[in-house]
């Protein structure tokens, strides 16, 4: 490993994703990417299995994605490794699925991978804000502005600590709908709270 790195070999496991990515991009040593990739390998495998429902295809996809990353990451500006990884796995699975079905061709999706909203919610700033300011009133106000289904699911999940399944049983919504109402509800809540804190800070 490089002497320019602030990490000793034993401490690479504690290095952040950004640090490992930076080391890989700087020194082009696959070891760094290998360590970083291993943090998410099982997740990439799960995503691939969701697409293929076959272990071997999923395994092959994981290896394929790793070799793609080796080629594509050098010199590329990446904000979040896991976000980039997710976009890559998803795009490659879609391309492979199309190839398997001979239904069509792959779209030009690299730009999409890097720029589009892949559904990750960035909450760092909000975590910081909610740690510093009282939340009850803000949440109350934001909750009132959510759609009914989202409000019900968010209430059961965050206020009563119920699971997806409990909520589904209680409301009659399908599990998929519960998850979707919660994802969108949380996303909307985030936006509303950000607006609330923005207003509060400007008052």
């Amino acid at each position: 490993m490089s002497s320019s790195s602030p990490h000793t070999p034993s401490s690479f496991n504690e290095a952040s994703d950004a640090e490992l990515l930076n080391l890989f991009q700087k020194e082009l040593k696959p070891d760094y990417l290998g360590i970083l990739f291993m943090r998410y390998r099982h997740l990439a495998y799960g995503v691939a299995y969701k697409y293929f429902r076959e272990r071997e295809e999923a395994e092959d996809m994981v290896s394929h994605v790793f070799s793609l990353l080796l080629e594509k990451l050098p010199g590329k500006e990446i904000l979040s490794f896991k976000q980039y990884l997710y976009g890559t796995v998803r795009n490659e699975c879609l391309a492979r699925t199309r190839q398997l079905k001979k239904e069509g061709q792959r779209q030009q999706e690299w730009a999409h991978t890097e720029n589009s909203d892949t559904g990750f919610m960035e909450i760092e700033e909000l975590v910081h804000l909610t740690n510093e300011q009282p939340l009850d009133e803000a949440v109350q106000e934001a909750m009132e502005q959510l759609g009914e289904e989202q409000r019900i699911c968010v209430y059961h999940f965050f206020f009563e600590g119920k699971s997806y399944k409990d909520i589904s049983d209680e409301t009659g919504f399908t599990l998929k709908s519960v998850k979707s109402y919660l994802q969108n509800g949380k996303r909307n809540l985030k936006k509303l709270l950000e607006e609330y804190f923005k207003r509060a800070s400007s008052d």
Partner: protein
Amino acid sequence: MKPIFQEHQCLSEGNIEGYLSNRLSLEERHRVENHMLDCPLCSDAVDGYDLLRADSKSGKETEKKPVRMRVLNWRFFSAAAAVIILLAAVVWIYPKQYDTDQLFASYYASYNSDLDIRFRQTGIEASPADTPLTRGLQAYAAQDYSRSISQLEEFLQANPNHLVSRFYLALAQMEEGREAEAIKNFSTVQMARQEYWEESSWYLALLYVKSNQPEQARELLNTLISPGSGRYYEQAKDLTSKL
């Protein structure tokens, strides 16, 4: 009330296995589900492992490896990391081997008929006449490639120097998997260095990749790269790096 916005680490294999087998505490289960709301990587992965479990139970999943998810431990990670690093080193050190079909598929995108736009740009109305040329181009736009081929071939018999129709004929042949004929027609258009020169060069290069003729492909790609810009400049550079 549970914390709504918390920073979580992505789920470990243990988390996922515990969650799916209902072995987590209420607190831990909530943390997992809350994290999945923010992280599509984990959410999709959990869906995948859930399907894997269901497939294993129903016998649909046929692969011979043990059905149980691998447990996260140091030995597994070390062994896997060693394999990955070895694999990476091989990829890094040795000349790249690639699957030609896969490489072709990863760059290939159907060409969308742009004749209406080109005609409008040049102020020429697309001919409304019902001729083999218009029928062939319309069939291409409608993705009826076999009809497009027969109509354009008919037109080209009488007009062998018509580059636009030859270009679309080559595209339709490529879509139909008639690659040798497509190569011949793209070459004709490409060598004329007039209309659709750039497009023909790109598709010809892709067909050379697919037919495992990297030298020819590289030569064509260089002609797309050397001007320093162009419709296929970035893709050509990218593809060249993989040959």
